[in-house]
Symmetry: C2
Subunit: 147 residues, 2 copies
């Protein structure tokens, strides 16, 4: 049974689900940093997905990238499947700005993560979620969970 | 007219051409590090390609990754479209090993590049080029160019 790797669960919050992939927000408030995790067991490389899933991942990745680029007025998107630490296939989609903390370097291992507050996460996500729904994401994140 | 960015030309050697993308070898002998550059003008993000080109890039990227993974007996592939320094769209395909110089970190900015010698480049490429031809790459690199 597919299960998101515990290190991704620990470092991220679940935002929703595309037909193939779960969408996570990485808990580093320095950047709008999202991760797609195809809901398939025992896959570490994109080419190990079957052809239909490869096409679906491409659609989800490119649609998500275009949305993030426009919504956050990015200078550049960084899209990467690395997996040296967590080998479960996951694809980073990171919005980069020329004045962000480690531009022009890649984000990994340069600057320590800065946590979100309830307010900064709300600011980052509240207007995005409606747009995610329009591109086929079933959003499960809510600003005010039932108490 | 499409032209490969001068920084990519300076840092890489041209290996051949897929239907959409030029294939480069990055001149850092630490890793088998290849780069696909779609031959399209003024594109910085994958989602800016038209749909047919997006599909073609996916095919070229996944076919190349699978070949490199098998040929070099990789522990992990790192596949990434970053472009913070050179914004022209280019997709890194880097063969990673658990004992390579910066595992498990990403390769950028950690260890200085080590140049190829004629011999080490020949060792890296000579058996690969025939396999590249089998997956649709028109190879132009030759071990012994005409003098």
């Amino acid at each position: 049974m597919f299960k998101i790797h515990f290190q991704l669960e620990r470092d991220c919050v679940l935002i929703g689900h595309f037909p193939l992939s779960s969408l996570l927000l990485n808990l580093d408030a320095h950047y709008p940093w999202f991760i797609l995790v195809p809901q398939r067991e025992d896959i570490t490389e994109v080419f190990q997905l079957n052809e239909q899933d490869q096409r679906q991942l491409m659609i989800e990745s490119n649609t998500l990238s275009a949305l993030l680029y426009e919504h956050f007025q990015a200078d550049k998107m960084n899209v990467a499947a690395l997996g040296n630490v967590v080998s479960q296939l996951h694809v980073h989609h990171i919005v980069r700005y020329r004045d962000d903390p480690c531009w022009p370097q890649p984000v990994w291992g340069v600057v320590s993560a800065t946590p979100y507050t309830e307010k900064t996460m709300l600011m980052r996500l509240e207007k995005l979620t409606a747009k995610l729904a329009l591109i086929g994401c079933t959003v499960c994140w809510a600003a005010h969970p039932a108490e």
